[in-house]
C-alpha cells in the first residue's frame, strides 16, 4: 500500500449544476509516469485542480502518500509539485526571485536546491531577468523548476510542453524520465499530444467527457494480439492456418495475412509455412497506434 503515491477514488465534480467529472478513480505508484490523455474539454485540468487542492471534489476522496487532501491538506501538499494550466509566475520579479519566494513557503528549501533545479531546466543564464521578458518556453522551464524545488514525491503537470520547441520537448522528456528513474518521483502528465504521452509514459488514462474510458500500460493497450505475415502466397498460408491450426484469418488490402494467435504457437506456424514451401518475407505483431486508440475511444467531433 505504501507505494501508492496517489489514490483517487470515485471523485465527481459539478460546476454550476453541470457535472464535469463523473466518478473518476485511478492510482499512481512510486516511480510511475502516468499520462492523462483526453480531448479539449474532457476534464483533465479540472481533475488535476482537485488533486492539488485548488478546488474541492463534489464527491469522492483523494489521498497523496496516504494523507487525505481534505483532512490533511498540509501534509498531503508537502509531497506535491505542480503546474496547472500554464506556468503562472510573478512577472514583476526575476525567475530566481520567484523560485526563492515559492521555495520559502515549503520547509527545507535551500539555496542549493534552487540552483540545482535551475540547472536542471537549463535556465542558469537568464534566471535573474524579469519573468515579464521571458519567452513562453522559458516560463515553462521556470514553471517546472518551481514544481521541483521542494523535492516532491508526486509531480502533477498540466500540459507542460505547451510552448516548448522540439529541443525543449525532448529535454523536458529526458528530465521527466530521469527524475522518475533516478529519484523515484511519480509523475502525472496531462496532455492531448499523443506522441508525447506515448514516448514519456508507462501508463495512460484516457479521459473523455469527464470519465476514464481506458486505463492501462502503453504496451498492453496497444497490442492487438494479431500477427501479420507477408508471404509470397497468402492464400495458401490462409489455408494452412485453417487446416493445420484451426485458426480463422483474413487478408488485408496489401495481401498480408492476419490472424489472432497465441504467441506460443507462432514458431510452429512459421516452421509449417516454410516446410510448405512458402517464402516468408516478414512477420510482425500488429499494434494499434495510440492515435487510433485515442480516436476510437474518444469518438466525438464536437466539444461538449
Amino acid at each position: 500500500m505504501d507505494t501508492l503515491v496517489l489514490n483517487v477514488s470515485h471523485i465527481s465534480k459539478s460546476i454550476k449544476k453541470k457535472e464535469i467529472i463523473k466518478d473518476i478513480s485511478f492510482q499512481l505508484r512510486k516511480g510511475e509516469v502516468l499520462g492523462f490523455l483526453g480531448p479539449n474539454g474532457a476534464g483533465k485540468s479540472t481533475t488535476l485542480r482537485m488533486l492539488v487542492g485548488l478546488s474541492r471534489p463534489s464527491a469522492g476522496t483523494i489521498s497523496i502518500c496516504g494523507h487525505s487532501i481534505r483532512d490533511d491538506y498540509v501534509k498531503a501538499m508537502a509531497h506535491v509539485g505542480c503546474i496547472i494550466e500554464g506556468p503562472d509566475l510573478y512577472d514583476y520579479m526575476s525567475g530566481y526571485k520567484n523560485l526563492e519566494l515559492l521555495g520559502s513557503m515549503s520547509k527545507h528549501v535551500t539555496q542549493a536546491a534552487i540552483d540545482q533545479a535551475v540547472t536542471l531546466v537549463g535556465m542558469e543564464n537568464r534566471i535573474h531577468d524579469k519573468v515579464r521578458i521571458y519567452s513562453m518556453g522559458m516560463k515553462q522551464r521556470i514553471g517546472l523548476a518551481q514544481a521541483l524545488i521542494h523535492k516532491p514525491d508526486l509531480l502533477i503537470l498540466d500540459e507542460p510542453t505547451n510552448g516548448l520547441d522540439p529541443q525543449g520537448i525532448h529535454e523536458f522528456r529526458e528530465i521527466v524520465k530521469s527524475l522518475a528513474k533516478d529519484t523515484g518521483i511519480s509523475v502525472l502528465i496531462s496532455s492531448h499530444l499523443i506522441s508525447e504521452v506515448q514516448l514519456m509514459c508507462d501508463r495512460v488514462c484516457i479521459i473523455n467527457n469527464g470519465m476514464i474510458v481506458q486505463d492501462g500500460t502503453v504496451t498492453d493497450m496497444l497490442s492487438t494480439g494479431e500477427i501479420v505475415w507477408v508471404l509470397n502466397d497468402p492464400i495458401k498460408g490462409q489455408k494452412i492456418l485453417s487446416e493445420n491450426f484451426n485458426l480463422a484469418s483474413l487478408l488485408n488490402e496489401h495481401n498480408e495475412l492476419i490472424a489472432a494467435i497465441d504467441l506460443k504457437v507462432l514458431p510452429q506456424i512459421n516452421a509449417t509455412f516454410i516446410t510448405a514451401g512458402l517464402e516468408l518475407h516478414t512477420v510482425y505483431a500488429k499494434n494499434k497506434t495510440l492515435e487510433d486508440l485515442f480516436l476510437s475511444v474518444t469518438n466525438q467531433r464536437t466539444i461538449q
Binding site: 460546476i15 485542480r49 492539488v52 487542492g53 485548488l54 478546488s55 474541492r56 491538506y73 498540509v74 501534509k75 501538499m77 508537502a78 506535491v80 505542480c82 496547472i84 494550466e85 500554464g86 503562472d88 509566475l89 510573478y90 512577472d91 514583476y92 520579479m93 526571485k97 519566494l101 515559492l102 520559502s104 513557503m105 515549503s106 520547509k107 518551481q146 521542494h150
Partner: protein, 333 residues
C-alpha cells in the same frame, strides 16, 4: 508565518505600488501647499490694503481680544461652562503673541493635519484601495494564485499573511503621508509649527457643543491624534478592500466597486441624511477627525464612538467573510 508575511511585503514592494502612491502624494501635496501659500499671501495683501496703514497688525487685534477674554474671566458672573474654553483661547492667543506668530500663518504641521482631514473620506481611502485592490484579485487574474495555493501552507495562513502585510504597508503609507505633507509644505511655508497650541476634546451633548473637557495640546500631539484616526480608517478600508479583492477575482472590478462605494456613499450621505440607516454605512463614518474639532455631527446620533465601532464592525465582518470565502473558494482560473 513571518516568512509568508515577508513574501507578501516583497510582492507589494516589487509591484512598485508604493512608488506610484508616493508620486501621487507628492503631486497632490505640492499643489495644495502652493495653493494654500498663495491664498495666504492674497489674504495678507487684502488686510494691508484694508487697514490702509501699510502693515497688517494682527498683533494688536489679538492683544485686544486677549484683554477682552481676560476681563471676562475676572467677571464673577461668568458661567462656569464658559471658563474652560475662555482659558484655552487665552492660552492659545498668548502663545501666538509671545512667539510672534500670526495665528493664521500656515505651518507645515497644520497643513499636514488639514491634508488628512480633507483627505480622510476620499483621497486616503483611494490610496489604500490602490495599495490593496489587487492583493488577491491580482493573483487570480495572473494565475499566480495557483502556485501560491499549491504549497504546503493552509489557505487561511496565506490570507492572514496578506492581511498582516497589508496592515504593515498601510501603516507605512500613513507615515509617508505625514512625512511628505510636513516636508513638502515646509518648503512653502518655512514654518514647522510643532508647538502651536490646539484645542481639542469637544463633545456634542444633546446637540450642544460641550467644551468642558477641552484640553490644549501642541499641534504635534494633535497631529498624532489625527493620524491615529486616519490610520484606523485606513486599516478598515484595507480590510474592506481585501474582501472585495477576494470576491471579484479581477483588479479593475475591485477598484471600480470600491470607488463606487466611496463616492456613492458620499452622495448617500448628502441626499439621504435623514434616513437613519445611512449612518451605518461605512463611508458615512470615515470622517473621524472632524469629531475632534467638535462641531461635527453629520447625522443625528453619530459620535466618535459610534463611528469607530461601526467602522470596526465593517472591518471585522469583511475579514470574517473574506476568510470564509477564501478558504472554500474553488480556484478555476
Amino acid at each position: 508565518m513571518l516568512i509568508l508575511i515577508r513574501n507578501e511585503v516583497t510582492k507589494l514592494l516589487l509591484k512598485k505600488k508604493l512608488i506610484l502612491i508616493i508620486g501621487l502624494l507628492i503631486i497632490f501635496i505640492t499643489l495644495l501647499s502652493y495653493g494654500q501659500q498663495y491664498t495666504y499671501e492674497k489674504n495678507i495683501d487684502r488686510f494691508e490694503n484694508f487697514s490702509g496703514a501699510g502693515t497688517y497688525d494682527w498683533k494688536s487685534l489679538a492683544t485686544q481680544r486677549l484683554n477682552d477674554l481676560e476681563n471676562r474671566l475676572d467677571s464673577p458672573y461668568i458661567p462656569d461652562s464658559g471658563i474652560a474654553s475662555t482659558e484655552i483661547e487665552i492660552r492659545q492667543l498668548r502663545y501666538f503673541i509671545e512667539n510672534d506668530i500670526n495665528p493664521i500663518t500656515p505651518s507645515a504641521v497644520k497643513f499636514s493635519v488639514d491634508f488628512v482631514e480633507q483627505g480622510i473620506s476620499l483621497l486616503i481611502p483611494l490610496i489604500i484601495v490602490i495599495l490593496a485592490a489587487d492583493l488577491v484579485s491580482g493573483e487570480f487574474s495572473t494565475g499566480t494564485i495557483k502556485v501560491l495555493l499549491t504549497r504546503a501552507v493552509p489557505r487561511w495562513k496565506i490570507l492572514l499573511s496578506k492581511l498582516i502585510a497589508l496592515i504593515l504597508m498601510t501603516t507605512l503609507v500613513v507615515l509617508i503621508i505625514g512625512i511628505l505633507s510636513v516636508l513638502i509644505s515646509y518648503l512653502f511655508f518655512r514654518q514647522w509649527g510643532f508647538n502651536e497650541p490646539v484645542a481639542t476634546g469637544f463633545s456634542l451633548i444633546d446637540g450642544q457643543l460641550n467644551a468642558d473637557s477641552v484640553i490644549l495640546v501642541t499641534r504635534f500631539q494633535y497631529s498624532l491624534l489625527i493620524y491615529s484616526l486616519t490610520w484606523y480608517v485606513s486599516i478598515v478600508i484595507a480590510a474592506i478592500t481585501l474582501l472585495i479583492s477576494i470576491l471579484v477575482e479581477n483588479t479593475a472590478t475591485a477598484i471600480g466597486v470600491l470607488m463606487a462605494a466611496l463616492i456613492g456613499g458620499q452622495f448617500l450621505q448628502f441626499f439621504l441624511s435623514d434616513w437613519a440607516i445611512v449612518k451605518f454605512f461605512f463611508v458615512t463614518n470615515l470622517d473621524l477627525t472632524r469629531y475632534l474639532t467638535g462641531s461635527y455631527q453629520p447625522i443625528g446620533g453619530m459620535s466618535l464612538n459610534f463611528s469607530i465601532i461601526t467602522l470596526g464592525l465593517w472591518g471585522l465582518l469583511s475579514l470574517m467573510i473574506g476568510f470564509m470565502v477564501f478558504n472554500r473558494k474553488d480556484v478555476l482560473v
